[in-house]
């Protein structure tokens, strides 16, 4: 708040000085008492309005690119000052009232826009071309693992998630409880059996009672296991595994998004990589790349096939996760910190895979811990070290090796600096810093 007032004063002091001078001038030069009082009072109202206006402008100046959802308060302040001015400056009263009404409408709509959940489109994936068709089965499977889990070897890591976002609902390991969507362990074999389920209506899509009978008119149903997997990605509602439909639809509609469409938008090459991993990780012989693509082409019409097909997924690519130009909340989201950590003050950061990040409180204690072998001397150094080299000190009882060790390369210096700045201010039991 002090910063806001200082910025407002910095912007508006010449105007305030002018108005004070005017007030003194009126006080000294107007002989008639009533006229003088009126002039001085109106100047005072003008000063009040100027103060409000400059606070409003300062709020914009300080928070324009931030994630503050209070910018419309500035508009509300201008609304109030407009109507206040209209009350005392009769000559231009209509103009002030009209202006006030306009600011009121803008404040209401802006406030509404800021009150709604804030959704932001991330950066595009880096433009690195991958030739999926020329890869070996193992290379394809590695790319698939990156797409599903965010990196090679990440399939064993709890909470790891990649561009495909599959682990959000699906389980992948044998015996893993998967409540939202079927566990995909054993899917290469199970796919063939699902075709024989009477509810699947193999070869007779018209008999289906699901929300969507076919991926597109004339696409038909799957004839083999791979086609079943392809159809599940392209048309999740064509057949819903019992118990996994949208609540209240009696398994006629699937909650799963269509994977080749936004927001996930996997290309056919990427889908082939994902499917190949499903086979390879179980030691099964995967269908060839061409066979998988053919299966997808059966269920995805040409016009619907994503064109940015050959782009490498962001999670596995060499590009930065955040450049540092974004507000800090976005950096946390882009680096996916929010998935595993609870970070007070950051929307959606409610993860419990890693420790809660109240580092102003935690860091001094950890540095003092005899088990601490790192080189940090200050809170900022400790946070930087934990991000770049998470294995240096592992908070109990969380397991080692869960947090990726790539953030040193994936975050720009600016982004890392913003993260450290923010976390070093978060204190247990206190209000989180303003973002």
């Amino acid at each position: 708040m002090a910063e806001l007032f200082a910025a407002a004063f910095g912007l508006g002091w010449p105007v305030l000085v002018l108005l004070v001078g005017l007030m003194i001038y009126f006080q000294v030069t107007i002989p008639d008492r009533a006229t003088r009082r009126r002039a001085v009072f109106k100047t005072f109202i003008g000063m009040l309005a100027a103060v409000m206006a400059f606070i409003a402008i300062a709020n914009y100046k300080l928070n324009f690119f931030g994630n503050s959802r209070l910018l419309p308060v500035s508009l509300a302040m201008v609304t109030a000052l407009s109507f206040m001015m209209a009350m005392y400056f009769y000559n231009v009263s209509a103009l002030f009232k009209i202006g006030g009404t306009m600011f009121f409408v803008a404040a209401a709509l802006s406030g509404y826009g800021n009150w709604l959940p804030q959704v932001e489109g991330g950066f595009p994936p880096p433009e690195v071309k991958l030739d999926f068709g020329g890869m070996t089965a193992q290379q394809l499977a590695d790319e698939g693992e990156k797409i599903i889990f965010g990196g090679i070897g990440q399939s064993k890591v709890q909470g790891a998630i990649g561009k495909g976002q599959c682990p959000l609902c699906h389980g992948f390991n044998e015996g893993f409880l998967s409540e939202r969507a079927p566990n995909l362990f054993g899917i290469p074999e199970r796919a063939k059996k699902q075709l024989e389920d009477p509810r699947y209506h193999k070869g007779k899509p018209g008999d289906r009672d699901t929300a969507q009978k076919e991926a597109f008119a004339g696409s038909g149903t799957a004839e083999g296991g791979q086609e079943y997997i392809a159809e599940s990605h392209a048309c999740p509602s064509c057949y819903v595994v019992s118990g996994f439909g949208v609540k209240g639809t009696n398994d006629k509609e699937s909650p799963m998004p269509t994977i080749h469409k936004p927001p996930i938008s996997l290309s056919l090459g990427e889908l082939a990589a994902v499917d190949t991993w499903l086979y390879v990780r179980e030691g099964k012989e995967p269908p060839s790349y061409e066979e998988i693509i053919k299966a997808y082409e059966k269920f995805i019409p040409e016009a619907d096939r994503p064109k940015q097909t050959e782009d490498q997924p962001a999670a596995g690519g060499g590009g930065l996760l955040a450049t540092g130009e974004e507000p800090v909340a976005q950096i946390f989201a882009k680096a996916q910190c929010v998935v595993c950590h609870t970070i007070p003050g950051i929307p959606g950061a409610m993860g419990t895979v890693g420790p809660k990040l109240v580092e102003k409180t935690n860091a001094p204690n950890r540095i003092k811990d005899p088990a601490y072998k790192g080189g940090a001397k200050t809170v900022r150094e400790y946070i930087t070290e934990s991000v770049i080299s998470p294995g240096t000190y592992v908070v109990k009882p969380f397991p080692d090796g869960v947090m990726p060790k790539v953030f040193g390369q994936k975050l720009s210096a600016g982004a890392l600096n913003k993260i450290v700045d923010y976390l070093s201010q978060v204190e247990e039991g206190k209000e989180p810093p303003k973002i």
Binding site: I98, T101, L116, V119, A303
Partner: protein, 647 residues
């Protein structure tokens, strides 16, 4: 009509020569366009290329396939530049370039829309003045049209200045992108410039010739010039739209973005026509809103009853024009969205059920606000009519119906969520609200709102009149039954939608919209017939409307400006990280889509900036009025127009 004197003849010839001179360069450049631009739709090469095909260089001629039309064409352009995040492609000031461009673009668009809409109003109002049998009314209409064009003239200069600023902003901040678009549209860029010159020339002749051409044949020639003016203006807008159409749904180029020689393909993209229609209607509604706000401003600042009467009437006319174009706007929007889905389903989903879906919730809210404000104005307007009191007691029920329709209309069904939100909610749909906001119900909501607005308008028309036709009683019963059945049909279909699959449910919008349009066209027409020779229970006391109503007009204008900014942002954002969809990537540091809150703040800034500047334009207009000679004031009767001529 008056005799055709040699002097008049000379004037007409001079005028024809001037307009001809203005249009001549455009006509002359057409063959050049046909020759240089291109390939016929059938896919054959242009003549110069065909000749080359017989030469040994023919082997070097490269052919490629149009990404949209799928026709083959000769590659005549360079590929779309592959940009990188560096000052060569994205030079910058110490500020987000995209935001600067956003402001420059939006301001140019607001003014451009206004100056394209106002001449259409002038044309309509001047024509109404010519055909009006009441001389006082005729003069009043004429003066109104003149006032409009005067405001638009100042705005016209500002539009040109803002256009210049926009081009400089493009060249300074996005040189590679602008260079690429210019290379595609090079065959028509000079036509665009010449049209602008023709538009400027015609508008000046139209404005400055007003007094000289106020009677007889010359007046008809004058009103015809407004037609020419609007044809030029509309063509200008269509050409400007072709750029944004190309950016959203490119055509006439191959996958690398290389121009294939057929400029018509690049102009006539998948979304060009629906964009044109939507923008034309939107400009008219927007222009109506701006003029209504101007009238409200003058009404509130009026010192005399005559002034209040004049500006009350002006506000009413502008509001009526604005709302008349606002009503078909959702249908044009529906067509545009359908074409978007047909072009790329992903684009449609990003808009309506994906990344930008929350913005559509705001849009729905704004549509509700616009209709509520319009209804409120009409109810307030009944206050200046004696005899309209009988309808006042029904207003509370209409408010109830409108609010119910509004709440249903803004309830979302499928919304985009972060993974954390998805986890917290347990699925794409909210456990409670997700059961409600399906499309047929939402369509039911908006159709109920529009039908109620039609009903308000009909009651307003009947406010001070009692139908005297012999079949009045039957007509009233028929009208009542028609509206009752319309409401039942709309609401029934809204409920029925819950019992059928989603893909079938979408089709219910057709009978729902048809019902609303039936009420709009048949009932207003029937009402007009019934009111022929109607008994008047009192005069319309122009100027006796409540002050609150004027704030409703201002709210309507501001909300419409905001909605225009919002929809423009949505349309532009749907390209995500593409400058030209799927052809030229945006590799600037601002290739991400902003949060809803940031967008809302930016739109508010643009709206308020526009209104602050246009208020200055209004202020300039009032200066002109103050300096008007006494004679001119006498010629514009301030008396209250005769209500017998209708509303």
């Amino acid at each position: 009509m008056g005799g055709l004197t040699p002097n008049k003849m000379l004037s007409i010839l001079a005028l024809g020569a001037m307009v001809g001179l203005l249009l001549l360069p455009i006509v002359v450049s057409m063959p050049a366009l046909a020759g240089g631009g291109g390939t016929p739709a059938a896919g054959g090469p242009p003549p110069d290329v065909a000749k080359k095909a017989d030469t040994p260089e023919a082997a070097k001629v490269e052919k490629a396939r149009d990404v949209y039309y799928k026709t083959e064409g000769i590659v005549t352009g360079a590929p779309a530049p592959k940009t990188a995040d560096n000052p060569q492609f994205y030079p910058r000031y110490n500020f987000e370039s995209r935001v600067l461009l956003w402001i420059a673009n939006q301001q140019h668009l607001y003014y451009g829309s206004f100056v394209l809409a106002v001449p259409i109003f002038c044309m309509i109002i001047e024509f109404m003045g010519i055909v009006s049998k009441d001389k006082a009314m005729a003069k009043k209409y004429d003066q109104l049209a003149y006032d409009f064009i005067k405001i638009s003239l100042t705005a016209y200069s500002l539009t040109a200045i803002l256009g210049g600023i926009l081009i400089f902003t493009f060249l300074t901040l996005y040189p590679a992108f602008f260079g690429y678009l210019s290379s595609i549209f090079r065959p028509v860029m000079h036509i665009y410039a010449l049209l602008f010159v023709a538009e400027s020339g015609t508008i000046y002749i139209y404005y400055y010739g007003w007094d000289r051409m106020k009677e007889g044949l010359l007046k008809w020639i004058h009103v015809s010039m407004s037609v020419v003016l609007n044809v030029i203006g509309t063509t200008l807008m269509f050409l400007a739209n072709s750029w944004i159409g190309f950016m959203m749904s490119p055509a006439g180029v191959d996958e690398q973005g290389r121009f294939l020689g057929n400029i018509w393909h690049s102009i006539h993209t998948a979304l060009w026509n629906p964009l044109n229609v939507h923008r034309l209607l939107g400009n008219m509604a927007f222009g109506g809103g701006v003029v209504a706000a101007y009238a409200a401003y003058r009404f509130l600042a009026s010192k005399t009853d005559e002034e209040r009467a004049h500006y009350d009437w002006m506000g009413y006319i502008a509001m009526a024009i604005g709302v008349a174009f606002l009503i078909p706007l959702p249908f044009a929007g529906y067509w545009l969205m359908r074409e978007v889905y047909a072009y790329r389903q992903q684009m449609g989903i990003t808009l309506m059920g994906g990344l930008l879906a929350w913005l559509f919730i705001i849009q729905a809210t704004m549509i509700g606000i616009l209709f509520l404000s319009s209804n409120y104005y009409l109810w307030q307007a009944m206050g200046r009519m004696r005899g309209a009191e009988k309808y006042q007691r029904y207003i509370k029920y209409m408010v109830f119906v409108l609010v119910c329709g509004f709440l249903i209309f803004i309830t979302p069904h499928t919304i985009v969520m972060t993974p954390a939100e998805l986890k917290a909610m347990g699925g794409q749909q909210h456990p409670v609200l997700g059961n409600y906001g399906v499309m047929s119900a939402k369509n039911g909501g908006i159709n109920v709102i529009i039908t109620t607005t039609v009903l308000s308008f009909i009651w307003y028309q009947r406010g001070n009149k009692v139908p005297m036709v012999s079949w009045a009683k039957f007509g009233n019963i028929f009208m009542g039954c028609f509206f009752a059945l319309a409401y039942v049909n709309i609401i029934w279909l809204a409920i029925y939608g819950y019992y059928i699959p989603a893909n079938v449910r979408v089709g219910l919008s057709v009978p729902q919209v048809a019902t609303t349009l039936s009420c709009l066209f048949f009932m207003t027409a029937l009402n007009l017939v019934m009111l022929k020779g109607a008994k008047q229970s009192g005069a319309i006391e122009w100027g006796k409307i409540s002050v609150r109503s004027q704030y409703a007009l201002i709210m309507l204008a501001t909300a419409f400006t905001w909605m225009m900014g919002l929809m423009g942002y949505i349309r532009s954002s749907v390209r995500l990280f593409w400058h030209v969809n799927e052809i030229m990537r945006d590799n600037s540091p601002w290739a991400y889509t902003h949060t809803t809150g940031f967008a809302a703040n930016m739109i508010s800034f643009n709206v308020l900036f526009f209104w602050l500047t246009i208020l200055f334009v209004f202020f300039l207009a009032t200066l002109g009025v103050k300096k008007a000679p006494a004679e001119a004031k006498v010629s514009v009767p301030g008396r209250v127009p005769e209500p017998a001529t209708g509303h």
